[in-house]
């Protein structure tokens, strides 16, 4: 795992919206485990500071009114994020951040209300899909255990879109059982094809519903698999 000094640390912009509430947790995880201080970027900014990557944390941006992530997708800073990504910049969207990425059309598909109509908070197992992104290559054959906490995390994409995702190796994480088999029983929210996280075509934009920042210490739920995901995020642009 990587560990940085203040001078040598990568510059990661933490995009903060009113209603974001996992920003502090992301900060804590990156600082404690990698020595990286995230650079807060407020939603009203029209430009990004000099950064190597951006991170969109979880929460309820703008109260998640209209649709989760929809209002945030139209905020000034997202214009800057879009142009950053279009030039090959790396981005990680966690939970609400994933919703914002799909609403901004930086990732395909949409995130809809859970099949159970309830908010779900629990640890789930994730199988890693096949593809060429650093996420898929680095995390490879593992089954990851991460917590989810969302009311609108049911990934949806039409049949054609799903085929394209598979063809292009964009399916990064699928809800699975402890052995890594994705089946209906292991699907917490009714996501199409058990999809929990996807990457962009160039593999540098990652969106996922589970919270890697919450599984970074054995004391907190017994899993450190989130560290591996965050570590891979760093590899995606370093």
């Amino acid at each position: 795992m990587k560990r940085f000094t203040a001078a040598g640390a990568p510059r990661i912009g933490l995009i903060d919206f009113p209603g974001s509430n996992c920003d502090r947790d992301c900060n804590d995880a990156f600082e404690r485990h990698f020595g990286i201080k995230l650079i807060p970027v407020w939603h009203t900014e029209h430009t990004l500071p000099q950064v190597d990557a951006v991170l969109l944390p979880g929460g309820f941006s703008y109260g998640d009114y209209l649709r989760s992530g929809a209002l945030a997708a139209h905020s000034p800073i997202m214009g800057a994020v879009k142009s950053f990504v279009s030039k090959g910049g790396a981005a990680l969207g966690i939970c609400n951040g994933f919703q914002i990425l799909t609403e901004s059309h930086l990732l395909p598909g949409a995130l809809l209300r859970n099949r159970s109509r309830r908010f779900i908070c629990k640890f789930v197992n994730l199988a890693v899909g096949s593809g060429n992104s650093v996420y898929q290559k680095q995390l490879g054959q593992r089954v990851l255990r991460l917590p989810i906490a969302h009311g609108e995390g049911r990934y949806y994409i039409d049949g054609e879109g799903l085929r394209r995702l598979h063809d292009q190796g964009q399916v990064a994480f699928r809800y699975a059982d402890a052995k890594g088999h994705a089946n209906d029983e292991s699907n917490p929210n009714g996501a199409v094809d058990n999809i929990a996280g996807i990457v962009s075509e160039n593999g540098r934009v990652m969106g996922l519903m589970p919270h890697p920042e919450r599984a970074t210490d054995p004391l907190l739920g017994g899993s450190v698999d989130g560290l591996a995901v965050l570590d891979t995020f760093l590899s995606s642009f370093m």
């Binding site: 309820f60 139209h74 908070c121």
Partner: protein
């Protein structure tokens, strides 16, 4: 697209503010102002109805006139009604609450403020409080529960504390009651949606079902926050000439008379109360939270108070009262959501997510900058004066002119008549035998299944709560004991890098129905045992005293006995009461709820890594720590409830305080030594129910035999299903057993005895009985389905 981008802001501004922003406030000459008409006090049906609506007695009304020296205006009548309501004035309970012990070396802020504060480590303190939202939740469960969470969060963060954990304690009617499923579904959703959005984890809770709540559910919400000892903020309106600033959502007609509603009983025919329900907006709450902590951190305000029950009225009187000052406010400046609101409505509205602040005029610009960042509307609506009066202007009239101190000092205070309930005089042993006989008829296996179903896993509830946000949750609701949080703070003593906060909320209403005095003590003890079983030392409690109609002498006697029982336990365990709330009139059609003094407790563990869970995950020997010379009881027991036996007969478990203290100290010692892998206090349904719950989700079987303990002297059923105070089941870490047992050798009032084995088998067996593990697991996990 530019226009589209800003739609959210436009929406917010439209509803949020009239955009009138003043930096100065000229105090007009109130002596020159015209007063509105006074109320018509001609005796007759109209006046009687007016008094009834405002829940003021003839004597109280006479006192209002004495204080004012004249007949009140309509707005003033509303103010007195709200401020003197049971909810705001504690008029029936105040004389009793004085008896609580409130001091200890850990206490930094005791009762009387928005929340109590205790020292945790170094300069790091915990601010916490529990509050009821029973009546609103019964009427509109989703919004009622949600706004209950919102209110308690604000009480904690307006002191400057950042909330780190929410808890809730819920009581519903029988599951077969027609309204129960609807209430459970929506209360849970309301709590979840609010806390999840604000971003505070819900880490522990407590729920049970009892016929006495059929017409009155209880929703008690608790928040724990962290705060620096030197930065605790209190809501004073100091400094004449300082500005009174309104912050947050605009005012609508919602919730008018909420305070007096919480001070009356229900009749099933009354549905019109619906109009008083407030609607919560957790998004605005999150903004308020961040903005409040920001302005307090920057020292931009001198006073700050949540507009909770009785809204603008209580916040202004409380702030002025504490500072010994007066306030002048102009309601024409209050942001409104709907037009043509009267002064009466503006003053009594309980619209949510609003705060009242007092600031020095020169800090206005800096304050605006912070609030603008958080998109919060704020408006200067008044000024601090030296008059000792709250004076309120609206549309050219001086609607309110009330002296502050007499309003609080002369608030009614009742020593209501009390008549202790007649206790069942029969020998408790007779009842114990009756329950034993009934259990044999039902069959011990069936009884265990019923017990597991009744007290089983609440996953369908807690999975709707975000338990992990904040990344401090070491033990959440899934491990079934006290919640454990790993608090990482630069304010803590650096020698405690794994500092842990333990917290739990609980109350056994059946013990309370049987004996309100012992029941109060048991509620505190249960919380303390839960904390001790997780390795912690209790620091302080908050309470929600939920009782029925205080005008019924038996209910008032229960209340008084409950206060004494809690006080007794607090003294015996050296745990002070630092905050709390009273909810009376929990009755429908003359039926009061079982006395329910809910206790919320916080404790400390120095090294949270050592905190065991209340469930086992691997094969181990099972030990029982139990108090000597104390027998099991069926009075108020889970078995009595499940076997349809009287809930008014028999005796609640007796308490040996020496044994309780010694047991808890012993647990803290061996847990601190890192010797314990699992520990759970023996509760509802006795030793077998507790043991079965420890293994139910582990996939492991259990063999339990109490013959070698003192309990072995009692009948098989009493040993296993009888209830006892001060007992725990313990699993040691492998290799640590002998060392832990050596420590046990010095115990004087307790014994530690090996009573069984958690094994890789497909059975749960106890005494002469056994059940397939699968069946137990199913009963346990289908608890709420």
């Amino acid at each position: 697209m530019a226009l589209l981008c800003w739609i959210p802001f436009c929406l917010r501004l439209c509803e949020g503010s009239d955009l009138k922003m003043t930096t100065t406030f000229k105090l007009p000459d109130t002596a020159q102002m015209t007063r509105p008409p006074q109320i018509d006090e001609t005796p007759g049906p109209a006046f009687t109805a007016l008094m009834r609506k405002h829940k003021l007695t003839g004597e109280e009304y006479a006192r209002v006139k004495d204080i004012l020296g004249r007949i009140p205006t309509m707005a003033e009548l509303g103010i007195f009604s709200a401020m003197w309501s049971e909810h705001c004035s504690y008029k029936s309970s105040r004389v009793h609450l004085k008896r609580f012990p409130t001091e200890s070396p850990d206490v930094v802020v005791g009762p009387g403020e928005n929340a109590g504060v205790v020292r945790l480590s170094g300069k790091l303190c915990l601010a916490f409080k529990m509050e009821s939202h029973n009546h609103p939740s019964y009427i509109e469960p989703y919004q009622g529960a949600a706004t209950g969470v919102g209110g308690i969060l604000r009480d904690v963060f307006c002191m400057g504390a950042r909330p780190i954990a929410n808890l809730n304690a819920l009581r519903f009617g029988l599951r077969s009651h027609q309204r129960t499923p609807h209430l459970v579904e929506n209360v849970v959703k309301g709590i979840g949606d609010y806390g999840n959005c604000v971003g505070v984890p819900t880490v522990a809770g407590n729920v049970s079902f009892d016929a006495s709540y059929n017409g009155n559910c209880l929703v008690n919400a608790m928040t724990v926050g962290v705060i620096h000892e030197d930065r605790i903020f209190k809501g004073y309106a100091t400094g004449q000439g300082n500005l009174v600033v309104y912050l947050g959502s605009a005012t609508g007609r919602d919730g008018i008379h909420g305070a007096s509603m919480a001070s009356g009983s229900f009749a099933t025919s009354e549905n019109s109360e619906r109009s008083t329900v407030q609607v919560g907006d957790p998004f605005t709450e999150k903004l308020l939270l961040e903005a409040t902590l920001d302005v307090l951190d920057k020292g931009l305000v001198v006073g700050l108070q949540d507009m909770g029950a009785a809204g603008l009225t209580s916040s202004s009187f409380e702030m002025a009262g504490r500072a010994g000052n007066g306030l002048y406010m102009d309601l024409d400046h209050v942001p409104v959501r709907t037009t043509a609101m009267t002064a009466y409505e503006l003053l009594l509205s309980e619209s949510q997510e609003r705060m009242l602040m007092v600031i020095e005029p020169h800090k206005w610009d800096e304050l605006r900058a912070v609030l603008d960042k958080w998109q919060l509307a704020c408006t200067v609506i008044g000024v601090v004066t030296d008059t000792g009066r709250v004076q309120i202007h609206h549309k050219g009239l001086l609607e309110v002119d009330v002296p502050v101190d007499p309003m609080t000092d002369l608030a009614p205070k009742y020593e209501r008549p009390m008549r202790p309930r007649v206790k069942d005089a029969a020998d408790p042993e007779v009842f114990n035998q009756k329950v034993t006989a009934a259990a044999l008829v039902r069959g011990p296996e069936a009884l265990l299944l019923a017990a597991l179903r009744d007290t089983g896993d609440k996953e369908s509830i807690y999975s709707q709560y975000d338990q992990h946000i904040g990344t401090q949750t070491v033990h959440g609701p899934d491990v079934q004991g006290a919640a454990a949080l790993w608090v990482r703070s630069e304010w803590a003593d650096p020698s405690e890098p794994y500092l842990g906060v333990l917290t739990a909320a609980t109350c056994n209403e059946r013990y309370n129905r049987l004996d309100a005095y012992l029941g109060g003590a048991h509620a505190v003890l249960k919380a303390a045992r839960t904390i001790a079983a997780a390795g912690g030392r209790p620091l302080a409690i908050t309470d929600c005293l939920n009782y029925g109609n205080p005008e019924v002498p038996e209910v008032m006697a229960d209340f008084s006995a409950g206060v004494d029982g809690i006080s007794l336990a607090c003294r015996e365990l050296s745990v002070p009461v630092v905050s709390g709330n009273v909810s009376l009139y929990n009755e429908t059609d003359g039926e009061s709820i079982a006395p329910t003094p809910m206790i919320g407790m916080v404790g400390k563990i120095q090294d949270v890594r050592k905190s065991p869970t209340a469930v086992v995950s691997e094969s181990a020997s099972l030990y029982l720590l139990y108090p000597l010379k104390v027998g099991p009881q069926f009075g108020g027991s889970l078995a009595a409830k499940l076997l349809d036996q009287s809930l008014h007969a028999g005796q609640a478990p007796e308490i040996n305080w020496h044994a309780e203290r010694e047991g808890m100290d012993f647990l803290r010692l061996i847990i601190g030594n890192g010797q314990v892998s699992a520990c759970r206090d023996v509760g509802d349904g006795g030793v077998i129910t507790t043991a079965a719950k420890m293994v139910a989700k582990s996939g492991l079987g259990l063999q339990l035999d109490l013959a070698s303990t003192e309990l072995g002297r009692y009948s098989d059923l009493a040993q296993y299903f009888g209830e006892i105070s001060g007992a725990y089941l313990i699993c040691f870490n492998s290799g640590d057993e002998s060392k832990a047992l050596q420590s046990a050798a010095t115990l004087r009032y307790n014994a530690v005895v090996k009573v069984g084995q958690v094994v890789d088998s497909s059975k749960i067996s106890w005494g002469p009985w056994s059940m397939p593990l699968k069946v137990c697991h199913h009963a346990f996990t289908s608890a709420l389905s």
